[in-house]
């Protein structure tokens, strides 16, 4: 049986929370025997939205990362579970048996993504099932994917080379969310925010005009990148590795070049970079 997956394009996610709310609607107060026990009112986020604000005024950025259970192919929760309370279906979906999981709090703590939740009342571990009960009824996708307005989430069968998700996966620079956990998730991402460095170039002698087309070079680990300032005199290098050192150089004929050493421990806004005429 082919493995299922969700491919999540963070660039397309508008942070509408449709996925989170549709999940609540499917599971709150609804038992699906042998698949999942009802979600309680509070404290459970089977589809969790991570809001990421980067940068500083006036150049902030906003992203949302939808995070369901990653359905890891090397799942720590399975290792932590007793009596086969956590198992993997043939389609790759990692399931928690709502009966067998009783009392097994270790299942919650085993998940590095914090995607498993403890139900205080029922004393069970619970999480996303990719709506397995609906897939088995013949539905084409989980509720979260169904209601995504921008197509930021695509669901499908990975081992079917004709499926939309297989085609998109082949073309996209897909990645794991937190690859350092080394759990081989089935859920895949595109466009997880990294670091960026930005600035605005201004000519000292022409402050009433934006400095368009100025060459800006970034050098450091991973090579050299070059860009030009836009019509507002702004430049940006996106997708930089975290915690690396770079040098940014601003050059324009007739002006004294300027260089900045930066470290991407955080996102960088160099603000106004004023170039002095030679």
């Amino acid at each position: 049986m082919a493995r299922v997956s969700i491919l999540i394009d963070v660039n397309k996610c508008n942070g509408c929370y449709n996925c989170f709310l549709a999940c609540r609607d499917e599971y709150y107060g609804n038992d699906y025997p042998s698949y999942s026990a009802a979600q309680p009112l509070n404290g459970q986020f089977w589809m969790q939205m991570k809001e990421i604000e980067r940068g500083v005024y006036p150049r902030p950025k906003l992203s949302y990362i939808p995070v369901p259970c990653q359905h890891c192919q090397s799942a720590p929760c399975m290792d932590a579970a007793q009596d086969g309370a956590v198992y993997r279906r043939k389609d790759g979906i990692v399931m928690i048996d709502p009966e067998k999981a009783k009392g097994q709090r270790d299942i919650v703590n085993a998940c590095p993504y914090r995607a498993i939740f403890w139900n205080e009342e029922k004393e069970i571990a619970q999480k996303c099932t990719l709506c397995a009960h609906r897939l088995d009824e013949g539905e084409k996708m989980p509720r979260c994917v169904e209601c995504c307005p921008t197509g930021a989430m695509v669901f499908g069968y990975l081992d079917d080379s004709d499926s939309e998700i297989s085609k998109l996966s082949a073309a996209a620079a897909k990645e794991d969310f937190h690859p350092e956990f080394k759990t081989a998730p089935l859920v895949q991402y595109v466009g997880i925010p990294k670091r960026f460095a930005a600035g605005e170039v201004v000519f000292r002698d022409k402050q009433g005009e934006c400095a368009q087309g100025v060459k800006v070079v970034l050098e450091g680990e991973g090579g050299k990148r070059e860009t030009r300032t836009d019509s507002f005199g702004d430049f940006e290098f996106e997708g930089l590795e975290k915690n690396k050192n770079y040098k940014i150089t601003v050059e324009q004929a007739g002006y004294v070049s300027r260089s900045f050493d930066i470290s991407t421990r955080t996102d960088i806004n160099l603000g106004e970079i004023v170039l002095e005429p030679k």
Partner: protein, 838 residues
């Protein structure tokens, strides 16, 4: 019992409702047969754009089930414990005293008895009442229908609505380019196709379409903006808050001080005039009065040229940025996206907002408004959409049981007295009050100049208030005055009929429990309001008319509004007069019969299947908005209410001159000496802004736009799933607080940290919120959404008490846009903020 599936429609999308054992188990975006969809295709830049076969509803629609069974539902008829209609009424205890459950019989006897007593004693005009907006969907039960039909029987005093979401466009832009029949917003036909084909840049000016979602059309347009972004269309966002559309589209963010947008707009005009980069042909042939405007912009009138350097001093935006924006705007085919459906931004809801809205029109006029790629387009309407199949909508006279020609009998209200929503408290507490403007002035420009005074000669002051729905504490201005109004002994009787407990519910003497549209029979088209926004469903990728099926019996002791009114009418011998002899389902059938729908589907099939999708015809032909005006042709768009359409003046706009007016002919005729809304727009510093005296005491400007995760007040408070969305509310110490966003520097200067409870305050009120420290707001500005439904005063019943629920509207001023433009101004509001120590 097996699962049953019903169809229904919300104010932001159609749904399938799953019911088991009489209980709703799930509510899903309507699951339609794939064969019913015939998606349109737009070809642009060598690519084909076509929507998926689905309905992208708004977020809160997914939480309808929780709202249906909400703990905040009004379950039974209630009476204030110290209200005795035959003895002491204790009006000053409204908002303070608790309630006791009573029977429907007792409640109906009291309400019917009071209506009769008040009418017999003072005349029908002593009864007033009003609805809130959009808490349910479906034309039979919608607020415009049963309520108005019922109240008309008593010849009540209606309360005129102010155009709350688009004030500046209504009171300003109409005098520049007409479109009064759209309350100041332009037609939007086929602008998606035009923009995909022709537009190179979009300037979103005080507009966050990803949050306001074209009012009713859910998230279908989110995909359009994604297409435009992927196509490489450049975007600019002018907004003191780095809004959610800006966050998604990653355009240039320009964050002016509140109240200075008009100065920026003037400076853009200055660049175009001095650099000779405007469309002189268009100015000559399609506009009047440009020379007067030009003189003002160049400073020939007041000695102050409106240069980018001058605008920088006002707005805090660097002159070079304004200059560069102006140049790029002129060089690229640019859409101006401010206004046109969906909570038209903070800039149109503040002091002198008329001037900003007029400038939006005039700037686009200088670049040839209506030319390919150069429109005023909110990006939330204007998909290819059938306009031939007519189905009545709530704002159509034919779509209301109060006014439809399909009724055998229509109760007519002959009372001429009116109230103005924004000054209703003043009208009760300290009459007389007067104003200009007949509410939504959609019939003519002259309606805006009509003078009203309350009380009107020959009529009574109001003694009874029938409130239907209601959370004005969180949506109108300076709202603690509503508490004072309710506690006035001049209101002898107050009844509130609603589905949920809202901020005004516990101000009533009698509370009547109504039910949702999941508990009664109705019909409605998704996204269609008709009337002043005809063809609004072009904000949806598919027109869909939904038979709103009764999914469950009304919960607890609630009843449909229609039934409640029928029962009161029955006690007064007016049942037949009210019902026209029809049940709700018979009204549904009546509306079906008068519509064009029978040409598409039989009643039996529609009633059973539950929906009908109206696809575009194969020979669909796009008629982009205002292209006809640009080209000098007669209007070819299906803009039904354009009075000049199909006449010998069909190539004209709705202004007096028929052209775009840099100097307004309508203002010249009616208010020639108005310095606050001059004949040609001016930049006038706000009376509550960075240049006012109050700024030294309250140095922060409050920006309170339309919310992202509720619809006005609806869905907030009654739908606690939303409290788990931190953009909406943030839980702390067991309470779901309303967020106030503050810049890192402003927070640090006040010792405020992220997640602290803070007090927002000025001389008008104090409101507690939870601080969200962010880089996404301009320093000096606090961003907190309007529309908290939770009015939670620390001392119940005390109008001056601190509100814990986040009704930031209590802080906003009563003062109007200008002396003759009676619009609300929530974004002209100075406050201070401090950490709340409890």
């Amino acid at each position: 019992m097996t699962e049953q599936v019903f169809t229904n429609c919300t104010n932001a999308g159609p749904v399938s409702v799953y019911v088991k054992d009489g209980k709703v188990t799930r509510i899903r975006p309507l699951v339609a047969d794939e064969k019913d969809f015939r998606p349109w295709t737009i070809e642009a830049g060598g690519k084909k754009y076509s929507p998926p076969k689905k309905f992208a509803v708004a977020p809160y629609v997914h939480a309808e089930r929780r709202r249906l069974y909400s703990d905040e539902r009004i379950r039974y008829p209630m009476k204030r414990v110290d209200f005795d209609p035959r003895g002491e009424r204790n009006p000053r205890n409204r908002g303070k005293s608790p309630y006791v459950r009573i029977s429907w019989d007792e409640a109906l006897d009291i309400v019917a008895g009071e209506m009769k007593r008040v009418k017999d004693t003072y005349g029908g005009s002593a009864i007033s009442g009003m609805t809130s907006s959009h808490h349910n969907w479906g034309i039979v039960g919608y607020k415009m229908g049963p309520f108005a039909r019922f109240m008309n029987m008593f010849e009540f005093t209606p309360v005129l609505d102010n155009p709350d979401s688009w004030e500046g466009w209504h009171w300003g832009a109409t005098h520049t380019y007409g479109f009064f029949w759209r309350l100041g917003m332009p037609e939007q036909y086929d602008l998606l196709e035009d923009s995909l084909k022709n537009t190179e840049m979009i300037v979103f000016w005080s507009n966050d379409p990803d949050s306001t979602r074209g009012t009713y059309t859910g998230q279908d347009s989110a995909l359009w903006r994604q297409w435009l972004r992927e196509k490489g269309v450049k975007t600019v966002f002018i907004d003191p808050y780095h809004n959610y559309t800006a966050g998604l589209m990653e355009g240039k963010w320009i964050a002016p001080r509140i109240g200075t947008d008009t100065a920026m707009a003037m400076a853009i005009a200055h660049v175009w005039i001095t650099e000779d980069t405007y469309n002189k042909d268009y100015i000559q042939n399609r506009t009047i009065g440009f020379d007067t405007f030009k003189k003002y912009v160049l400073g020939e009138e007041d000695g102050q040229p409106k240069t980018p350097e001058w605008a920088e001093k006002e707005s805090g935006i660097k002159a070079r940025v304004i200059r560069s924006l102006a140049r790029e705007w002129a060089a690229k085919r640019t859409v101006l996206s401010g206004g046109a459906r969906g909570g038209e931004g903070g800039a149109c809801r503040q002091a002198y907002a008329t001037e900003w809205a007029r400038m939006m029109v005039l700037l686009q006029a200088m670049q040839g408004l209506g030319a390919p790629g150069r429109s005023i387009w909110g990006t939330t309407m204007g998909a290819p959409s059938d306009t031939e199949c007519w189905f009545p909508a709530y704002a159509d006279l034919q779509g209301r049981i109060a006014t439809t020609g399909a009724a055998r009998h229509l109760p007519i209200n002959t009372t001429k007295q009116r109230l103005w929503r924004l000054t209703l408290p003043e009208a009760v507490l300290s009459p007389p009050v007067s104003w200009y403007g007949e509410g939504f002035c959609g019939q003519s420009l002259e309606q805006q100049f009509k003078h009203f005074e309350y009380p009107m000669k020959g009529y009574s002051e109001i003694k009874m208030f029938y409130r239907y729905g209601g959370s004005f504490m969180g949506t109108l201005s300076d709202t603690s005055k509503w508490v004072r109004m309710y506690q006035s002994p001049k209101l002898e009787f107050v009844v509130n009929q609603d589905i949920w407990y809202n901020s005004e519910t516990r101000m009533a003497d009698i509370i009547l429990p109504a039910c949702t549209n999941f508990e009664r029979e109705d019909v409605g088209e998704w996204g269609a309001c008709g009337g002043y926004t005809v063809h609004a469903s072009s904000g949806c990728n598919y027109r869909i008319i939904v038979r709103e099926q009764k999914c469950i019996e009304p919960l607890w002791e609630s009843k449909s509004d229609y039934e409640i009114f029928s029962l009161i009418a029955d006690r007064l011998g007016l049942k037949e007069t009210f019902t026209d002899g029809k049940t709700e389902l018979e009204w549904v059938k009546t509306f079906f019969d008068i519509s064009d729908l029978p040409k598409y589907i039989s009643w039996e099939e529609f009633n059973k299947k539950g929906y009908c999708i109206i696809n575009i015809k194969d020979d669909y032909k796009a008629t982009p908005s205002l292209r006809w005006f640009h080209d000098g042709r007669p209007c070819d768009t299906p803009d039904l209410n354009n009075p000049k359409r199909k006449s010998d003046k069909a190539n004209e706009l709705g202004t007096y001159s028929g052209k775009i007016e840099f100097v307004s002919e309508s203002l010249k005729k009616h208010f020639p000496d108005d310095e606050e809304r001059p004949l040609s727009p001016r930049y006038i510093p706000s009376w509550e802004g960075h240049r006012s005296e109050l700024f030294t005491k309250y140095p922060l400007q409050l920006l309170s736009p339309h919310p992202r995760f509720s619809f006005h007040c609806h869905y907030d408070k009654h739908t606690d799933w939303l409290d788990d969305i931190p953009v909406h509310r943030i839980k702390k110490d067991g309470y779901a607080w309303w967020p106030a966003r503050i810049h890192t520097d402003d927070a640090a200067a006040r010792g405020i940290r992220n997640g602290d409870i803070v007090r927002l305050y000025n001389d008008r009120a104090s409101v507690l919120c939870i601080a969200v420290v962010t880089e996404r707001v301009r320093p000096g500005i606090i961003h907190s959404y309007a529309s908290s439904a939770k009015y939670d005063p620390l001392i119940p019943g005390n109008a001056d008490a601190i509100d814990k629920g986040g009704c930031v509207n209590m802080l906003t001023p009563s003062r109007m846009v200008s002396k003759n433009a009676p619009g609300m101004t929530p974004n002209s509001c100075l406050i201070e903020i401090e950490k709340w120590e409890g």
